[in-house]
Symmetry: C2
Subunit: 706 residues, 2 copies
């Protein structure tokens, strides 16, 4: 597949998603490669029909998101001959298309046709405090669209259309008019997805093919229930410009998850697809205004176009992965699906989503932390390399809470296996650090003292657990992880960078994890200091000092700190600085001061950074960031995070060439089908596709409006 | 695809389905072509793993219903190299396999392994009268299986396994053990399908591939939640023979239909997949006994093997299409899906399912009739050919109630279009006759006088409507349809034989429909006579006489009655006799007596039959029945019906060669994927695949145990 220079950057799938519905209207890639997706790990691969009768009346033109359907009539009428496909609809020429892609709007222009999707990145108010009205505005499982045809220069009336050919295997397409009780016109598939409109003059049609809907033998046959394609239609008279409004709606009733049986939270307010449609259309103006306001906010930010593009794209993918549930016991449960993998609340993603979530809806961080400590915590023992004895370990948390709507059993993730050294091993130390970093971030951001007090035993257990993992012998502690969880059964823990080599993948003595662990100790110190718990505060302070000193000590003569401390490793990694984001976000300016208590650590990291940012080391040829000198697998979410840390902590100037490279990766035709993806191997999305994690870019806005 | 002579007749998909759950465990076709299907129009196309460790310990052998999965680990660990597939499991050789296929059991034997599925064709008691216990026994959405390994001659312990790789796009595979609270062991996909066991020693495993489950690096990793394959495992020690029990469970919560919002009736008793599993295992003995009893009953019937095979196969496919719902207004709604097309309660199938349903659960016929008269009735006017004036018409009923869980709007089917002459046109006259035939059948079978009285206005309206369709001018009436519904907008009505040529497809003056209409008049006369309504009884009698005379008059010099009366048509059709089934079933011996009031009609039809049963006319070269002399499309459901009528009414001897041919059609490798199919074009299933309608064969049992 290739794309012309002209259209480069136009054809890429993007999410247009409500929040918490695990639903997305995905479009942008050519062909039947987007659509109305519900609970999927990738695009729905449906034909979308968005277009208008051509001005010369010779046929119809549509945005290029469809394939011509076979005429399914042949399945029924086996004696009939093959019918020639009339092919009334042709895609607009690539060169005729322009796309204006923003955070909350996505506008396509082709000739005198304009199509805009509105999907505001709405915060979700705390359900314990919010009014039903506020929750409904936020949670309505719908996104919005306008289709405009400017026929002021036209000589004849022209039909516009917006429809799809659904891919849900369990139900047929249908018209919703009979169930709409006059409130709207609609088409949909089963009880799960629909496109509806209350604009005057919009009518619905269904047929085996779009052609049969656009040119029905009789208008009455637009009601044909067996048709696998359905569309909304309207007519724009000659000399007129008309805009039609649509809501693209999603709904799934009942218990949708196992393990922790739960339904979508929105079902509290919306018992059916039709109720979603009615509400969505009634609130169209509000929702459109929210989207436009979000766009204005991002436009006002001092970001480059390349940054703005990536931020918008990443946030959209995060929204498409969100799933807000209400358990059978009536407890709210916030979940984010892990893109193509659909793991639920992968903790090492949670800690990256954190910055966005705290600014938008901090209660979801609390909610995730509570679920981790209630159901997905465990206590282990630990082992030292080459030593089969078990030493005291302590509390930690699972990698995730399950996968694809199946919550895993208590105290276990879906991901972590036993007895491994690489991918799928346990992440005990990392997730322990992640709980601490998330919890400290939550308490500092919200000043929720009640939650802090309630969780003090957990904080204390976390500290004890961290210290035990440093070394069983207090005299040998250096602030850095030395012991692997006994859950590894003799294997070794890994980090979130599971598919990279040792440079980032091994947890023990890992530089990335060591800096993050130092941050966790700083956070714990703040927690205990604020609660006047002198002894644990002192222990945390001591451990932070040990960690800082250990890390700094490993700065070598070549000016970098090896990715694995003290094991002869020579990999150079950018995420050495990743953990600095926490003291920075917590406002611990003293800890980050060049002349503060951790001056040695900071100086070492500054030197490290200067050393590694060299082409062929931690820079690709195109200027893109290469997280590890020994691996071509680079993760955009983590790049975004480090792109925030480098200027914020080290006043390192931004590098526009890197942003341009990263944008180009996302727009590479090999990658555009997957919307925003994370794991880029030399610029090609090889894993973590259709992924939420890039919302780390939200940090870029910090200097602008936070 | 070809099949050896040895294995011919072994590899064909068959349904193993509970009743009313629109669910099926389909297996028998080689490859990943069966599985646990829910609400599908065809097999689920999942790999099923059913097998055992080979006696020599060299690997594993399984029934050939799987493909080796790719190792999905590569999706996660993008830096890992390609892993060679170990391929521990090989399919049993075709020649090693034997299958014993019966009505309610399906047994596969391969070496010392035996696998049996139990799925009794259970009647559904009337929910208005039945106990919860009786309803639960009938409706539990599960089928049952036993796996036996005879390792008495074995020298080592051997593992047996039963698992699958689910194809539901919305949820992952999982182990159910944590949710089973010690009651069972299970594997499943999301909240919808599962295989569970409470046999001692059965354990569950999950992995990317079956190999990873059979030979896990560590037993602990059998819990791996990301695995797309899951299986139950057990070990049979050397020298032992062990049998393990399984329940194959289905569940779908919440409103599943649109138009008429409804949930599965079974959700009254079973709120979750786990509750299905628990109940199913507890009732295993009962369910197994029901299956064995059903098999004994069919074995006792005086049927040939070819007949017995077709009856069992057809009944199974009917069960897989049944969907018993409870509306949001708490009304029971019985639906049968139309096989691959999934139309709901297609009325011209209902009238064929009737004979089975009356014998098993007559209340479902009443339920369907009530839904047709409440929601899917309409009143039209009629037109004569070449005449654009509207004449009085009357009451009729829609072709169906919707499609694929979408109930159509009131007074309209999903199928019927406007302004057509062929496939997808209206079936107004046919469905009117079908309501009458079903309603009379119900009242005569049940003696439900209350329902009869309540529906007298409908019966009267039906008579009026039938007469109006005969001819607007009373003097020109001849008992046969002459006027098409104005819903055709100038087009013409068709019959259920929509994909055949005029011989069976055109409704007006159609011989098949004329005989059925004559039967409807007879039935109406009985209804009115029994309710002492003399005038309508007389009118019905008169119309029956007119119809009989008209039909008989068209017997031509060549000894057949043309398929279309009086229009120069020369097609010869077997379904001329189809309508005779109704007076036969109603016990109207007088009407069928060779010397009775309709002697002329019966004599004409007997002559017609003798004429058409000639090779090349209404017999294929293989001896199979060819419904129409002018079309190679022949429908097994209707053949079965006429195979009952010919001996029952005309004492025409059965023709074993035909039964052998029809069985061979079903077992043709081109057709075996679709389980039982209806529309056979020269023996190839071209339409109406995976279809319920062959349950007409239940009539064959009439002489045996009714």
């Amino acid at each position: 597949m290739s794309t012309s220079t002209q259209s480069s950057g136009v054809f890429f799938n993007a999410h247009h998603a409500p929040v918490g519905a695990f639903a997305t209207f995905t479009l942008g890639e050519r062909g039947p490669r987007g659509g109305l997706g519900l609970e999927l790990g990738g695009p729905a691969n449906e034909s979308l029909f968005i277009g208008a009768e051509s001005a010369d009346g010779s046929g119809y033109e549509a945005l290029p998101f469809f394939a011509n359907s076979a005429d399914a009539a042949l399945r029924y009428d086996v004696s009939a001959g093959t019918q020639a496909a009339p092919g009334l609809v042709r895609p607009f020429a690539d060169t005729a298309l322009a796309r204006d892609f923003a955070l909350a709007t996505d506008t396509w222009r082709a000739g005198d046709l304009t199509f805009t999707v509105y999907s505001a990145p709405k915060p979700v108010p705390d359900p314990a405090r919010a009014s039903a009205a506020a929750l409904k505005t936020a949670l309505v499982p719908a996104v919005f669209a306008e289709l405009t045809l400017d026929n002021r220069h036209g000589t004849g009336a022209r039909t516009v259309f917006f429809g799809y050919e659904g891919s849900n295997p369990f139900a047929s397409m249908r018209r919703l008019d009979a169930d709409a009780r006059g409130k709207f016109t609609g088409i949909g598939q089963g009880v799960n997805t629909a496109i509806v409109s209350d604009s005057p003059g919009v009518r619905s049609g269904q047929g085996f093919t779009l052609d049969q809907i656009l040119r029905p033998d009789r208008e009455e046959n637009l009601t044909f229930g067996l048709g696998g394609t359905a569309a909304l239609l309207a007519t724009v008279p000659a000399g007129k410009r008309r805009t039609f409004r649509f809501a693209i709606c999603f709904h799934r009733e009942g218990i949708v998850t196992s393990g922790v049986p739960a339904r979508y939270y929105y079902t509290r307010f919306f018992p059916s697809l039709e109720s979603v449609a009615t509400y969505a259309l009634a609130s169209f103006d509000t929702q459109r205004a929210l989207a436009l306001a979000a766009d204005r906010r991002l436009s006002a930010a001092k970001l480059s176009d390349d940054q703005r593009f990536q931020l918008a794209h990443a946030v959209r993918s995060y929204f498409g992965s969100t799933e807000f549930l209400l358990t059978a016991a009536d407890e709210p449960l916030w979940a984010v699906n892990e893109g193509e993998y659909r793991m639920l609340n992968t903790f090492d993603l949670t800690v990256d989503h954190l910055f966005y979530e705290l600014r938008q809806n901090p209660w979801v961080v609390r909610n995730q932390l509570d679920w981790f400590s209630r159901r997905y915590a465990y206590t282990d023992t630990v082992r030292l390399p080459g030593d089969t004895r078990d030493y005291p370990g302590g509390l930690s948390f699972t990698h995730d809470m399950g996968v694809a709507n199946c919550f895993s059993r208590p105290r276990h993730s879906s991901y972590e296996k036993f007895g491994l050294h690489g991918c799928f091993s346990h992440m005990t130390h990392e997730q322990l650090v992640n709980w601490v970093c998330c919890a400290v971030s939550y308490t500092r951001h919200t000043s929720d003292r009640a939650w802090l007090k309630k969780n003090l035993p957990t904080f204390r257990a976390c500290l004890r657990s961290l210290v035990n993992r440093d070394h069983p012998d207090p005299r040998q502690r250096d602030g850095v992880m030395s012991a692997d969880s006994s859950r590894c059964l003799g294997g070794a823990e890994i980090t979130t960078y599971d598919s990279l080599d040792t440079s980032l993948g091994q947890a023990r003595n890992n530089l990335y994890l060591a800096v993050k662990t130092w941050a966790a100790y700083l956070g714990l110190r703040e927690v205990f200091a604020s609660t006047k718990l002198a002894a644990p505060a002192a222990l945390a302070t001591r451990q932070a000092g040990l960690a800082a000193a250990t890390i700094a000590r490993h700065l070598n003569a070549e000016g970098y700190i090896p990715a694995i401390l003290g094991e002869g490793n020579t990999s150079r990694i950018i995420p050495a600085i990743e953990g600095l984001v926490f003291p920075q976000q917590w406002g611990l300016d003293d800890a980050l001061a060049p002349d503060g208590p951790y001056a040695g650590l900071l100086a070492a990291l500054r030197t490290h950074l200067d050393t590694v940012f060299v082409p062929g080391v931690c820079l690709f040829a195109d200027g893109g960031w290469k997280l590890s000198s020994t691996n071509d697998n680079s993760w955009l979410s983590k790049i975004y995070l480090c792109q925030f840390v480098a200027p914020a902590v080290f006043a390192r100037p931004a590098d526009p060439r890197a942003d341009a490279a990263h944008r180009a990766w996302l727009l590479d035709p090999r990658n555009t089908y997957f919307a925003w993806s994370d794991q880029m191997v030399s610029g090609e999305a090889k894993g973590s596709k259709y992924y939420p994690r890039g919302v780390t870019a939200w940090l870029w806005l910090d200097s602008v409006f936070d």
